[in-house]
Structures are given as C-alpha cells and as structure tokens.
C-alpha cells in the first residue's frame, strides 16, 4: 500500500507524459527493488519456460555424445587410421539421421555451427553466386536478426532487398509475395515458425510460388524442425536452416539442407580444406554432429507424442490466464501456429516488470537476441501491435520436459502479479473508471 501512495505521488508530476512512459516509470519503482543476479546455493531454481531461447539436452542425446568426447576423439577427415574411420562413420550416421527428419538425402546436409551460420551461408552464398544476373532478394520483416542483418550486408554490396510486410496475424501475404517476385529475384527467405510469436508461415504455398517462378526458397526452420512434420520435397524448399540447441541437442551445431535436384549453387562463406562439399570447410565436430543426429532421431520418434502434449499444456496455460484476467491479447494467428510458443500482451502492465515479478519462472519478453535493448520487439511492431501492448508482452515457451505443475504455477503466478501490477497502475484506474485512454490529450511539458 505504501508503494501505491509513493507511486501516485510520483505520478502527480507525470501528467504530461504518454501512457507507455507512465507505465514504465510506475514499474521502474517496483523494478529497483529486484536486481538480476545468479542464484544462491540454497535458493530454488526457477521453472524453465523459455524453450524458444534454448532447450535442455535430452539425456539420450548426451548419452550418444559422450563416447565421442571421451574415447572416440578422432578427426572424421583423417583417412588413414581407425580413429578417423570410426569418427567419420559416426558423422555420416548423424547426417542420415538429420536427413531422415526432413525427408532429404544425406548428401544434401551440411553441418554448420548453428542456424545463424546456416542462414548467413544461404543468403549471402546464393545471392553472391547469382550476382551477375540476379540482384533481388525477398525476405519478411519478422525474420530472425541474422537473416535481416545478412540482407543489410547484401544491400551494402549493391543488392536490392525487399522486406515484405506481414499481416496483423503474422502471416505473409501470398498475393503480395507473387507480385514482388521479379525477373532478377534470386532468393526468397521466409522462416517456418517464428521464434517470438510462434506463427507458422504457409511454406507449402510459398514453395509452390517460388518453384513456379524459378526462384530459390530458403526457410529458417530452427524452431520448426522436430516439432512439426517437415518434407522438403513436398514443401519445395531449396535451403533449410536447422539448429541443434532448439531440438534438445547440443549448442554450437546446426545444419543446412542444400537441394541437389535441381542443384542450388552457392559461394561458400568459409574456405579451407573443402570439407562438407566445399560449402563449409573446417573439421566437423563429431561429438556435436552425433548429438545433433541423435536429437533429430529422437525428435522424429517423439514428434506426435510431444506435439499433443505441448498443445495440451499450451491450451491449459492460455485458458487459465485468459479466464482469470481481462485485457490479455495473444499475438499472432491463433490457428496457424506452433502451440509451444505463446506470446501474450497484458494491457496496462509493463513487460519487463512483469518478468521481474515472475522471478520464479524463466521467461522472456521478445527474443533472447534482442532483449538487451529497450526497444520493443520489431516482430510485434511488424504485426501492427500498439506500442503499449508491445512493451507489455511476454513469451511463454513450452517443451518436451514441461510439466502440468510448472504450467499451473506459471499461470497462477502470472495472474497474481498482473493483478498486483495493475492495482498500481494509474492507467488501469482510469480504464476502470471508464475513461477512454485514446481520447486523452497528453500534453508536452
């Protein structure tokens, strides 16, 4: 109650400020009392609900990797002794496991250091190879930062990039895509499942359009692989990025699917001894590759089981929260989505302070790569979210290891803290009194 008096007194002097700034100030008071630090020895660990940022390794994956970290340490490219041969055979087995998950041929899989490298390779590599005839690349505004940044680099090299807007539900407008493709378009890059709002793009349709216009189609499937069924031939995908640590595999490894028929040519980004078909030179890290292969194998077996379980838990979380508190918005299309990634905006509550208040649960607002800056997520801006709501968004991630108890605890805590923070919010008070916030004329001081 003291806090309320203090903040109301403070806000008497903030009458001229726009609403999101007022909220920020109110909750800055609350935030000051909670600082970020590592856990003490006797403190209990928070629940992990941030499966889009990274995932814990499945014990079966670690079990497959350990022999290659301990005894089978040979370089897979050593041709002259057993250490090399056994390492190579493990690497090729892993390659097949990755290929089987996406219905590709093992010869079409290139091991990389992660989806960021795979994205960089595909976009820069393909664009630069066809530079003489084709100078146009199309992508969307909701792509991962590495895709957008690669495109920015290409722009500086003289390429023409179109950043397609998305509809308010987060999906690409297929009509607009068709109209944007030109004679000199070499590549279209659209991610399969968005890491911030969980929206699933119509990749089959995009693939069909691109194939008919003779344009290469790259998709960043880091959040989709192993979670939804993927078939690169049905989808008519030419390049696909895969990340190890999003599918319960090790960090530091990923893969790139590069179609052989019809052949995709690309300039390699990393030169050297010609490993991985010359596309990515460097010693393939056998233990990591084995881990990625095991993770893909497990994902294929567990796909249906995990999907139904994650859907059930996601419904439970959303229904619980939305039935107890009003003015909660789910960002992104409600149907065309991966259920395990839920982005909710809580009106009249500031996102960062809600996160701090929920310190028992590991959550995120916006993606891990952009949470350092104070700007609201560009993905939410691209889907047309109000700036207030964009600042109030939290991403809940549910995965293979989530339990009902964790989901219930998260929902209860969330409801409790949102109610508490709204109590302190003068904007909420005004809304309760029936004032329409949009009609207020905020004056400048």
């Amino acid at each position: 109650m003291m806090r309320k008096t203090v903040t109301t007194k403070l806000l008497g002097s903030m009458r001229g400020f726009p609403s999101h700034r007022v909220n920020y100030a109110v909750n800055a008071v609350a935030r000051e009392l909670i600082k970020s630090r590592e856990l003490e020895n006797d403190e209990l660990r928070p629940l992990y609900m941030d499966f889009q940022a990274t995932t814990p390794m499945d014990p079966r994956v670690l079990d497959a990797m350990l022999p290659y970290q301990v005894n089978y340490y040979g370089n897979p490219h050593s041709r002259t002794h057993a250490y090399g041969w056994e390492s190579e055979s493990a690497m090729e087995k892993a390659r097949k496991q990755v290929a089987d998950l996406i219905a590709a041929d093992p010869r079409e899989i290139v091991f990389t250091s992660g989806a960021t490298e795979s994205n960089n390779m595909s976009i820069k590599g393909v664009a630069r190879f066809y530079k003489s005839k084709k100078k146009h690349v199309i992508t969307t505004q909701t792509e991962h930062k590495c895709v957008l940044d690669s495109c920015r680099v290409l722009e500086a090299e003289g390429f023409d990039i179109t950043y397609l807007p998305v509809k308010t539900n987060g999906l690409v407008d297929l009509q607009l895509l068709e109209e944007t493709i030109r004679q000199d378009t070499s590549l279209v890059s659209v991610m399969t499942v968005n890491n911030e709002i969980g929206v699933r793009q119509p990749v089959e349709d995009i693939g069909r359009i691109c194939r008919s216009r003779n344009v290469f189609f790259h998709t960043d499937a880091a959040q989709a692989v192993g979670k939804i069924p993927i078939n690169v031939s049905d989808w008519k995908v030419d390049l696909m990025s895969i990340s190890g640590h999003k599918i319960y595999g090790p960090k530091g490894v990923g893969a790139l699917y590069v179609r052989r028929r019809p052949r995709v040519r690309m300039e390699p980004l990393q030169n050297g001894g010609g490993q991985e078909r010359g596309l990515r030179s460097g010693t393939v890290p056998t233990p990591l590759a084995v881990g990625l292969g095991a993770a893909c194998d497990i994902a294929q077996q567990e796909l249906e089981y995990d999907h139904s379980r994650v859907s059930m838990l996601a419904n439970r979380l959303v229904r619980k929260i939305m039935s107890e508190i009003p003015d909660v918005v789910m960002n992104g299309d409600p149907e065309q989505r991966y259920p395990g990634c839920i982005n909710l905006s809580f009106a009249y509550v500031e996102g960062e302070s809600l996160l701090m208040a929920l310190k028992d649960v590991a959550l995120s607002s916006g993606s891990a790569c952009t949470s350092a800056s104070l700007e609201p997520s560009y993905v939410l801006r691209a889907i047309g979210t109000d700036e207030d709501l964009a600042h109030s968004s939290i991403r809940f991630g549910i995965g293979r290891f989530s339990t009902e108890a964790e989901v219930d605890y998260t929902a209860d805590k969330c409801i409790q803290q949102v109610k508490r923070l709204r109590e302190m919010s003068p904007l909420w008070e005004m809304v309760q009194e029936g004032i329409d916030l949009k009609s207020i004329k905020w004056t400048q001081h």
């Binding site: 660990r45 928070p46 629940l47 014990p59 079966r60 079990d63 028992d360 989530s402 339990t403 605890y409």
Partner: protein, 84 residues
C-alpha cells in the same frame, strides 16, 4: 526365449525405479511419464518378434537411464521451485 508377462513387468518396474532416481526434476518427471506411456501404448502388441524388439529397446533405455542418473548425481544443483 519367448517374452513373458513377468519379464515385461520386471523391466517396467526397473525402468520406473531407475527413472525416479534422476536428480533433475524435469528429466525425472519426463522419464517416469514417458516409460509409463510407452508401456501403455504397446500394451496390446502380440507379435513375439515385435515384443522382443521392444524389450531390447527398453533394456537399452534402462542402461542409458542408469548412466545419465549417475552423471546427474555427479553435478548436483539446487531443486526447482515446484519441488521445494
């Protein structure tokens, strides 16, 4: 050696006992749940070859769980909020 109900039950009990030893809350709950659901799903399998194959998979998983439980114990950490 035809697989008998006793063998299946014995493997099930061993798997559940070993799974309950995982120090990590998430791994423990997952293993217990997954083992139970897997045995339930395969309850009505008749073909003896299939049964033998599943039992072998189960035994391999039991070894894996034993190893991973030991590793988990070597690197202990605090309990999570829902356990405390």
């Amino acid at each position: 050696m035809a697989a008998s109900t006793a063998q299946v039950l014995s493997l099930y009990r061993k798997l559940m006992k070993e799974s309950s030893k995982f120090p990590s809350y998430n791994y423990r709950t997952y293993a217990l749940r997954r083992v139970q659901d897997a045995f339930r799903a395969n309850r009505s399998v008749e073909d003896p070859k299939m049964v033998e194959q599943l039992l072998n998979q189960g035994r391999d998983n039991l070894d894996m769980i034993r190893r991973q439980v030991a590793i988990g114990k070597m690197y202990p950490t605090q309990k999570t909020i829902v356990e405390g």
